[in-house]
């Protein structure tokens, strides 16, 4: 099926979102334990989102991409929550909270990209594309 519709824009984005989320997940899993940024909630949300993106390539249930994207969106919101105290040190030019600001920037960037890639296919309709 996927090969038949390989030129459909939504499938392309779903594939990109799924792969990017998978990459982000693996990177987060490996890296975050080294910089004390690991949160199991973020990992679970990202994993569910990734599975949803990939599953929707095979199972055509209309709301799955929406829920998958929402999971990644919540993961992004959680990352903002965990990152802000550390990033506030940069803003204030002090070192009160500590933590790895660079790592947080990386994770925020990756999650934002994952989210953007996942939300685009939600706006696209396979019917409309045809």
């Amino acid at each position: 099926m996927i090969f038949q519709k390989k030129f459909q824009l939504s499938s392309c984005f779903l594939t990109a979102a799924g792969l990017f989320s998978a990459g982000t997940l693996v990177y987060y899993l490996i890296q975050s334990n080294h910089d004390a940024c690991f949160q199991v909630s973020i990992l679970v949300l990202l994993a569910v989102g990734m599975v949803g993106e990939i599953a929707s390539l095979f199972v055509k249930v209309d709301f799955i991409p929406m829920l998958a994207s929402s999971c990644i969106g919540v993961a992004l919101g959680l990352m903002v929550y965990y990152a802000l105290p550390t990033l506030s040190d940069l803003w204030n030019n002090v070192n009160f909270i500590g933590g790895n600001a660079f790592a947080y920037f990386m994770y925020l960037g990756l999650l934002l990209l994952s989210f953007v890639l996942s939300v685009i296919p939600c706006f696209l309709s396979e019917k409309e594309e045809k």
Partner: protein
């Protein structure tokens, strides 16, 4: 709108809602700080209470606040006038017949008012403004050119931010002619929280040395002006051995430290002669700052086998792979330079060897080559003569000495001067046999004269606690350890700094061959010395304090405890033991296990295990009916049973919440606790930036230090602050410490004396002085979790001594612990120091607070911590006690609460506590706005979801039908 739009908008609104809720949670945690930033005050209202701590300005009205702030401004100016140190004056100061001046050095347009650290921002008087206020005209061409320069300081690289030689265009040089009365050159150094100064900066030289760019500016000044005055704007001792250079030397030099809001007015008063310098250096100024014994081990050191044992460096909680060996032992700052000097003069201990030579010209260590300005040194526009006229013992068992010092102004203008009392204690065969180290000279007290007219004399009396003459001996009392007083002659001496005082002692001992810091022969003045004889060795006087044995407790904070003979500590028995850099250190398995138990593993960061003997949590009755309000506990003794009744009224959750400080502790209405507010830091905690604390110390004025404490407390009353994280009492262990500016001195005894005075005054007005960072935070590099090792004598007479006076003499009721470790134990988790030494030996009654974010919740509470700064561990504590049924931890949590409540009910919070106290629980306007925003986003999520379902499933099916 089509269904796909709603399908796309749903995750977007969900992501926004999640982010908003996260931010809301953070804002709620920090609500006290947000309120403060927005100027929202939530003062509880009460009537019928009694004001326990009243402002000296009367009611807390805006009018009286203005009066207080006006006086505070004058205080800050006076601090700078009396704390700035005149280091050189070839007759050009005070400035006379000077109208038009040129400011040189980019620092003149961008001074370092203070380094980066917690505290208020600068909102005061610039150097230019202060000079213009004094009627001087400033060369605007060069000033504007500096302002337009793109040069900037950079703490990370050590860039001093000065312009190079090519900056000085012909146009700029031509402008000098019209402003040639004098050149005022300023050099600045900059560090701060988390950032030490560099032993090798981006220019490849010590950050404290004179840089090529500064030489260019000084050459420019020397070539174009007859009078060149140097201002040293630095909290760290800059190397100044070049000041007599013909090429770029200066005619006068004034160390001004970090001037804060109004210090530059004081600086200009000194330049113009409306004030006369009277400060003394609080650090030794070496020819080469790398020459200090302590500097040999300073910076970044990682256990060589860290990876093998899984020692890591992550976040704040779990840094386990960094260490620092303070191999200098007690010989920090002048204790090293002056002790080695005496041993050179007395030809003992191989003091003249080549070990530790950095500036000595013939390869043999020589004081005059190594040191530029001694500790305590400072010039004036006049001169003084100091004689000790009497030395009386006083108090129970001669616990105090009173030194009478006659000071005469022998110069031609009025002025005042510090009276620094130093002591030399006997260095005996016993000390050598038992590795007890003795500094050849030690500051033990100070006072200051009033303004003396030419020819006028004043008798200044300074009290010295005999305890400060004792040395810690790990072998005393049959090997248990304790403080000892050796039999023999004790010499008290005065002088213009430690070196002159030591020369006076040497003269009294009949020594010859002494010389001053410039290498000029001196004879010393025996009239500036008094002696006291102790007939017999004494190891009992200080063996017990507050009912607690003072004995070895920090043996495991010495690396040789874990790895025998790993390090040779510096001993004056042989100066060839001058410290070597400990660059390779392998942690033993035992050390690694200890560190790892406090880290990683189960990711809980806790090494605490519930003891088998721990009672059930139900052995305490929490959440009982409220019969006692906090107001009822005003003045109730710490050991009174009513405290237990009060604590019984709180739930475990409430007890746990009290440990969380997010710029304040939240109210508990049930028991009449209105919440408290805290603030940071040593150079101001209420909106006004004081001069740097090291400048305040350099005044050597008990009056000014007390006044500083007074204004901290007054500001707190007007601003509703109950505790401030001030003063700072870590030591300037090396010249490179990034926060030296907000600590008193290189000398822990100086810190002891200063902190006692300042804290006493803060406490007298009900402000809890949370002196920080207790203790050993003597470098910023790797401060999180740094394993710090030295001998017990060095711990007790060094880092710990710096704080001790605040508690035992100043009555400080709180302290902020440091991020670092005593050996392997985090300071906030150290039962040994927090409970056995601080609360035991020193009798401290009050609360301890971690540095921001530090410490494992449970280990810290068990280890004597009471409050977590900027960290909310309530859930963890509550959960552990409840799930583990741990009455042991609950008992510790109750103790922490008692410490907190006891401190605040007896502080200025008592002013608002009364039986009819009404505690506001209304939300601030911003909280209402945030909730509204969350609701809107929540509705958006629901709306998008509903519309998606309607469009996608309900309506589409209808259309299909």
């Amino acid at each position: 709108m089509k269904k796909n739009r709603w399908r796309g908008l749903f995750p977007i609104s969900t992501a926004l809602l999640a982010t908003a809720l996260g931010c809301t949670s953070l804002l709620w945690q920090w609500s006290g700080l947000v309120d403060e930033v927005l100027g929202i005050k939530k003062q509880p209202t009460a009537s019928g209470g009694t004001t326990v701590y009243a402002s000296s300005y009367g009611d807390l009205t805006e009018e009286n606040r203005a009066k207080m702030l006006a006086d505070l401004k004058q205080h800050i100016i006076k601090e700078e006038e009396e704390g700035a140190v005149l280091l050189k004056n070839d007759g050009v100061l005070p400035l006379q017949s000077v109208k038009k001046v040129t400011l040189l050095g980019r620092a003149t347009v961008d001074p370092v008012y203070r380094y980066t650290s917690g505290g208020p921002s600068w909102t005061g008087t610039s150097l230019r403004q202060a000079l213009e206020d004094a009627g001087l005209e400033i060369n605007g061409i060069v000033f504007s050119a500096y302002e337009a320069s793109t040069c900037k300081r950079d703490k990370a690289t050590g860039d001093i931010g000065e312009v190079g030689e090519d900056f000085y265009t012909q146009n700029i040089v031509d402008s000098f002619r019209n402003y040639a009365d004098a050149a005022i050159v300023m050099i600045s150094r900059y560090g701060g929280e988390g950032t030490d100064l560099l032993r090798k900066d981006k220019d490849g030289v010590s950050q404290l040395s004179l840089h090529e760019s500064e030489k260019a500016t000084l050459r420019m000044a020397r070539a174009n002006f007859k009078k060149v005055i140097l201002l040293v704007n630095s909290g760290n001792p800059v190397e100044l051995g070049w000041m007599d250079s013909e090429e770029y030397g200066v005619d006068a030099c004034l160390w001004i430290g970090t001037p804060g809001n109004y210090g530059f007015t004081g600086v200009v008063n000194l330049l113009m002669g409306t004030a006369n310098p009277s400060g003394g250096l609080i650090d030794t100024y070496a020819t080469n700052s790398l020459s200090a014994a302590a500097t040999q081990n300073f910076g970044d050191y990682t256990y060589a086998n860290a990876d093998e044992y899984g020692l890591t460096s992550k976040g704040i909680h779990d840094v386990t792979n960094k260490y620092l060996v303070e191999a200098e032992g007690i010989y920090v700052g002048y204790r090293y330079y002056e002790t080695r000097y005496e041993d050179c003069i007395l030809n003992q201990g191989n003091a003249s060897s080549s070990a530790g030579v950095f500036a000595s010209r013939n390869g043999s260590w020589n004081y005059a080559d190594e040191v530029i300005f001694p500790f305590g040194y400072g010039l004036s526009y006049t001169e003084f003569e100091r004689k000790i006229t009497a030395c009386k013992t006083d108090g129970e068992e001669d616990a105090e000495f009173t030194l009478s010092v006659n000071v005469t102004n022998t110069g031609s203008v009025a002025g005042k001067t510090p009276v620094q009392i130093y002591v030399q204690t006997p260095y005996t065969a016993y000390d050598r046999d038992n590795l007890v180290e003795k500094s050849a000279i030690q500051l033990v007290g100070f006072g200051k004269t009033g303004v003396l007219q030419p020819g006028e004399s004043e008798q200044v009396e300074v009290t010295v606690d005999r305890y400060l003459l004792a040395s810690y001996d790990s072998t005393a009392c049959g090997g248990k350890g304790g403080y000892i007083l050796d039999e023999g002659t004790y010499y008290f001496a005065v002088g213009n700094g430690a070196h002159e005082a030591l020369n006076n002692v040497l003269a009294a001992k009949g020594a010859t061959g002494m010389y001053d810091e410039e290498g000029n022969p001196v004879e010393g003045d025996v009239e500036a010395v008094a002696s006291w004889e102790l007939a017999a060795f004494d190891e009992s006087s200080y063996h017990e304090r507050n009912g607690v044995a003072v004995e070895n407790k920090l043996q495991d904070a010495d690396i040789n405890f874990w790895i025998p003979n790993a390090v040779t500590y510096l001993t004056r028995q042989n100066w060839d033991t001058f410290p070597k850099e400990t660059t390779v250190l392998n942690a033993t398995k035992e050390m690694a296990d200890s560190l790892n138990a406090d880290n990683l593993g189960d990711k809980s960061f806790e090494s605490y295990q519930k003891p088998s003997s721990a009672p059930s949590k139900n052995s305490f009755k929490q959440g009982q009916e409220v019969t006692l309000k906090l107001a009822d506990l005003k003045g109730v003794p710490y050991d009174d049973a009513r405290w237990d009744t009060f604590l019984n009224q709180l739930t475990i959750a409430q007890l746990a919440t009290m440990t969380s400080d997010m710029s304040g502790i939240k109210a508990i209405k049930d028991v009449g606790f209105p919440g408290i507010s805290q603030n940071d830091g040593p150079d101001g905690a209420g909106g006004v930036q004081y001069v740097g604390q090291s400048v305040a110390a350099a005044t050597f004025s008990p009056e000014i230090l007390a006044e500083r404490g007074f204004f901290f407390a007054e500001e707190a009353l007007f601003n509703g602050k109950n505790a401030v994280w001030s003063p700072g009492a870590d030591i300037h262990r090396t010249p490179f410490g990034g926060r030296n500016f907000e600590y008193y001195s290189e000398d822990s005894y100086m810190s002891y004396l200063c902190a006692a005075i300042q804290c006493r005054e803060m406490q007298n007005k009900g402000l809890s002085s949370s002196i920080k960072h207790f203790c050993g935070n003597d470098q910023e590099t790797n401060r999180y979790g740094l394993c710090t090792f030295t001998t017990e004598q060095a711990w007790r007479q060094g880092p710990l001594r710096g704080f001790e006076g605040a508690f035992t003499e100043g009555g400080a009721t709180s302290t902020m612990t440091s991020y670092s470790r005593y050996g392997l134990t985090l300071t906030c988790e150290s039962n040994t120091v927090n409970n056995e030494i601080l609360r035991g030996e020193w009798g401290f009654v009050g609360f301890t607070i971690t540095d921001a974010g530090s410490g494992s919740p449970i280990d810290s509470i068990i280890g004597g911590t009471d409050v977590f700064c900027l960290n909310d561990n309530a859930k963890t504590l509550n959960s552990w006690i409840t799930k583990q049924d741990d009455g042991n931890l609950l008992a510790a949590l109750r103790k922490a609460n008692k410490n907190i409540f006891y401190t605040f009910v007896n502080g200025n919070l008592g002013n608002v506590l009364s039986s009819d106290l009404v505690i506001s629980s209304s939300l601030s306007w911003w909280q209402v706005a945030v909730i509204a925003l969350d609701c809107i986003l929540g509705l958006a999520v629901v709306g998008c979801g509903v519309l998606y379902v309607l469009k996608g499933y309900v309506l589409s099916r209808k259309e299909e039908k």
